[in-house]
Symmetry: C2
Subunit: 417 residues, 2 copies
Amino acid sequence: MNWIDELPEMGRRAKIAAKALAGATSDRKNKALALMAESLRGNARAITGKNAMDVEDGRKNGLSSAMIDRLTVTNSRIEAMAAGLEEIAALRDPVGEIDATWTTASGVTVSRVRVPLGVIGMIYEARPNVTSDAAGLCLKSGNAVILRGGKEAYHSNSAITAALTEAVVASGLPHGAVQALSARDREASVAMMRLQDIDVLIPRGGLSLKKSVMENARVPYIMTGMGNCHIYIDESADFEKARSIVINAKCQRPGVCNAVETMLFHDRLSDGFLESLLSELTRLGVEIRGDERTRGLCPASLAATEEDWGAEYNDLILAVKSVKGIDEAIDHIERYGTHHSDCIVTESYTNARKFQSDVDSAAVYVNASTRFTDGGEFGFGAEIGISTQKLHARGPMGLEQLTSIKYIINGDGQVRG
Amino acid sequence: MNWIDELPEMGRRAKIAAKALAGATSDRKNKALALMAESLRGNARAITGKNAMDVEDGRKNGLSSAMIDRLTVTNSRIEAMAAGLEEIAALRDPVGEIDATWTTASGVTVSRVRVPLGVIGMIYEARPNVTSDAAGLCLKSGNAVILRGGKEAYHSNSAITAALTEAVVASGLPHGAVQALSARDREASVAMMRLQDIDVLIPRGGLSLKKSVMENARVPYIMTGMGNCHIYIDESADFEKARSIVINAKCQRPGVCNAVETMLFHDRLSDGFLESLLSELTRLGVEIRGDERTRGLCPASLAATEEDWGAEYNDLILAVKSVKGIDEAIDHIERYGTHHSDCIVTESYTNARKFQSDVDSAAVYVNASTRFTDGGEFGFGAEIGISTQKLHARGPMGLEQLTSIKYIINGDGQVRG
């Protein structure tokens, strides 16, 4: 079926499923998650087979090594996806929790109850594990989900969704609980941004997706995953901390949104330390794009352009710039950053406090790698994305961030005076 | 100055003010609020004078009596506005509150801190008191605000904003903290919906505003104030409770969003009770628009059309329909409602529980007037609007709903393994 006919029908199915899911007990949802995990394991051969087609296409189309890493599904990654679903089953179910009940001056009782959002639309990059994580988190939080993954992962996502849907249906929940839009063209995303059956759209991705969402979305959305993250090495920084944090934040997994993209350093930092750090980064395969001062310290570095300060490389590239001090660093982050994760390396109590107060980002670090901005690392169990907006959710989004509230009010005939 | 030139400049000023406000102590903000209250009192004559111009225009242009009521500013209403600002000053300041701090498995400390949203854009109906309430709530929660009230209240809002801004500046806070867009044309609202300096837009109003926001907004928004509220009188209802709740919800202040617009009743309810209720409503000046059954009970009633079920009258008009039972009532509310406030009048425990579980609205009542959906009545101290969306805030929005959070993370050089 063509997606143009398919999408409205998916919306209707999702709405029906959302009603069933909103009323489903935790037990029922957990059983579905267990079956979903088993189904991924049982279909591992089919999934890796389909994934090999995507990876081959990706190499032909010149995807970066970081992108290929995000795209690749191995048996151990399928096991991680399945284990992830089982971990989600073990998490506390937020739906139905009453976080407050009080009696008002008029004598009515007001309770605030946690409820699902309804139908969630996910538009995300070519990372097949997100398909499984998102399906699991949405189902556990009582939401139906319509998935639309990056076209580079088309075959992988189809295979994963087929395995998940099979399990959902086997568990007795409606087919519409987990659906994937089987379209590779961009217009399908735009049509999804306008589908009125979607209660909340969660786009994960970079600047071009953000622009498209801003222009086209006609449903509420939460922008996630835009990460132009900064590390500022202050004058008083401990060199060893600075070295290991920068290397970890850049090299450990460069393709993800909490990797660092720009390093700022105080212009009075010792040349010796900076030369050794930049040459170590170069040895680790990092391309340095620097301002004049940086290029003096690191002969291998290219000249940074204005564009580099705003870039999210998702690759082994680092923009590097000297600043006159913390104020210039904060201004640079405000001007070019995406309000995701930013870090200061400092031994100054005052500067640590100032940086955390004045940098307006979801996660503001002192002396720790930006790579920690993650639902799992934060202890939320899992995450569906990292919000870079201030509305509804900011930072890693776990189960609770996939819910809303409603007020239930009980009276005995009270009226307003 | 023309608003086309003015708006970008207002955005810049608001951004600067937002930074100052985010760092302002509660003391400083409370002093500003006290001065704002005094300034309203001191400028009462100017404000009521300007308001008289708006009211006269409104009468000429045929505004309904409910609309004229919302528009009118008297000395006692100015005193209420001033007292409202003083009450806001007395509320707990949510900014800077840390609601959780924990140490992760990696040994970093994570704290969740409440922060302002930044710059708030308010588009609202012709209710001058909202100008003062919104300015006070935004300031207390550390946000700069750009106000754009209904054109029918143009002169009143200009006078009120002038009084408020004078006080803001006198308190030492930046002029950009409270600004009003001095334009009467609709394009000004559309331009505001696209102003990138606005972090969150809060539109208050009906369906046409909602459609315009959906089509035009390029900034995150929270829809508020669309209230097609229902009261369903169940078969087992206590007649006296039903009577007083319906009359209160319709007549006490028909121009506001938590007033009831449609009454549904179980078709086995006694004719005698229904006839007496409908005739009492008619005596109180309520125009009844009913289905066939209703018209049989109330000769004065007009025939309801499909449009009536979806209408938010904001006036002394009530749509009335018989249903076969609770399921049909819930379906009707789901189909035509705005997910604001809906009520069942019943003595059935099971139906009370079912209604509150299955009706997907911000506030779901058993045996109490929908008029209680209000920040003041709920005990939030004050409200900037009533959200009818599920994202970020649902129901009455007080100070906390005007904030976001950020994570601050402290380490000693930790990196991700």
